[in-house]
Amino acid sequence: MSIRHGLLALLERGQMYGYQLRAAFEESTGSTWPLNIGQVYTTLSRLERDGLVRSLPESEAGQRPYEITDAGRADLALWFATPISRTDRPRDELAIKLALALTTPGVDVRAVVQTQRTATMRALQELTRLKYASDRPEDLPWRLVLDAMMFQAEAEVRWLDHCETSLVRHRPPAPGPAPSSEAVGRSGEEARR
């Protein structure tokens, strides 16, 4: 997601000036995405340049409100209608780390899995505790953000469980040349043992 679309969505509620936008943005993301006021004004000036918002006359207190334009509404509608691509999301460092652990000599992969599982489980405990404490109706946006993080943590633990099961069954390929041409004869030999 971009700050740009976040601000457009907030302006769809009605005109606001910079500090109001920053407070509303943090409120609706459960304060998981802190903004500084400079980012807000930089984004507003780009949105205005692109014709998606328009600035209104300053108030007596010297605050300049902004409102969304029709082009801004169309851009916002498109954003809501378009799924977020998986490839837009950053790295999966953990998956890469485990893949490397498996092929690096001397690494206890099950210990790597367990260390991550304990850390992720603890994060899930913290999220659950926060959600349990946030049961007012006005906490709903915040609870949804928490839910998203909880589902991600849960998925990661399940994936780690899956990795562990695969590791238990895993038989590393034997070192040395693979006796591929003897594969058929070998099973007979094993049967004789």
Binding site: E26, G30, S31, T32, P34, Q114, T115, R117, T118, T120, M121, R122, L124, Q125, E126, L127, T128, R129, L130, Y132, A133, W142, M150, A153, E154, V157, R158, D161, E164, T165
Partner: protein
């Protein structure tokens, strides 16, 4: 260090049992497992379900036990509840050594102080929901009216106040699960032992059950929750990981809600 269970069947009188606290268990521990082993069978066919597990659970603490199938988590729960005896090691509930209790005293401790929520619900088909919940209290000598009133309170707590007169086969799977939970929470249970307690429930009802468990723990009970669902273990204060009958790791204690909220800037 681990005394064999059943080697000290000194039948203590109940008053002495309450006062006796041998080998300094943590003063406030509701559950204290000490280097517990459980082996099924013997010789080459022996299965080592638990191989030296220690665990202390204090009042106000919900501990989740996670691990793959066969890791020993359900065995741990049956030992904690006095439903089975360790091959070696000791189990204390509220300071009482289970191995040293007379059968009668152990049965009373189980009825009064320990609540069980197991995968197999064990509801009695010929009894209504409220009778099922009241049963442990009545077995313990409570008057029928008092037992029924407490049972009705427990059913209300799990959202089944209207359905106390139904028989188990007139209830949905989720409702039966909640009756089993009411039975585990009824009265003054200090130790609640749950094995996949949300098995038959959809996620919303499952979460409601865990909220109930959490609330009871926040009111001062101690609980052990065996689960393979990370989402459920998330409700715990501490998560212990078992593998092949030993503890391999556990999560560090959590900060309070205020500290967590401060961390998010709220």
């Amino acid at each position: 260090m681990s005394a064999l269970s059943g080697t000290t069947p000194a039948a203590p009188d109940p008053a002495a049992t309450g006062a006796a606290t041998p080998v300094d268990p943590p003063a406030d521990a509701v559950l204290d497992l000490r280097d517990v082993h459980r082996t099924h069978g013997s010789g080459p066919a022996a299965v080592h379900a638990l191989r030296g597990v220690s665990l202390v659970v204090r009042p106000g603490e919900l501990v989740a036990v996670m691990g793959p199938s066969g890791s020993g988590k359900s065995t741990l729960l049956t030992l904690a509840g006095g439903l089975d005896s360790p091959t070696a090691g000791e189990v204390y509930v509220e300071g009482q050594p289970l191995h040293a209790l007379h059968r009668r005293d152990l049965a009373r401790l189980r009825r009064r102080r320990i609540g069980y929520i197991f995968q197999n619900l064990n509801l009695i088909g010929g009894l209504t929901a409220v009778e099922n919940v009241a049963l442990p209290l009545e077995l313990d000598g409570a008057g029928v009216r008092r037992a029924r009133r407490l049972a009705q309170d427990a059913l209300t707590e799990v959202g089944l106040m209207e359905l106390g007169d139904r028989f188990p086969d007139q209830l949905s799977g989720g409702q039966q699960q909640r009756v089993a939970i009411a039975r585990a929470l009824v009265g003054e249970r200090r130790l609640v032992l749950a094995d996949e307690p949300t098995g038959a429930l959809d996620s919303q009802t499952g979460e409601a059950v865990l909220r109930l468990l959490r609330r009871r723990v926040d009111e001062g009970a101690a609980a052990v929750l065996v689960t393979h669902e990370a989402r459920h273990a998330g409700w715990a204060d501490r998560v212990v990981f078992l593998r092949d009958g030993v503890t391999v790791d556990s999560t560090a204690p959590l900060a309070g809600v205020e500290a967590l909220l401060a961390g998010t800037g709220r």
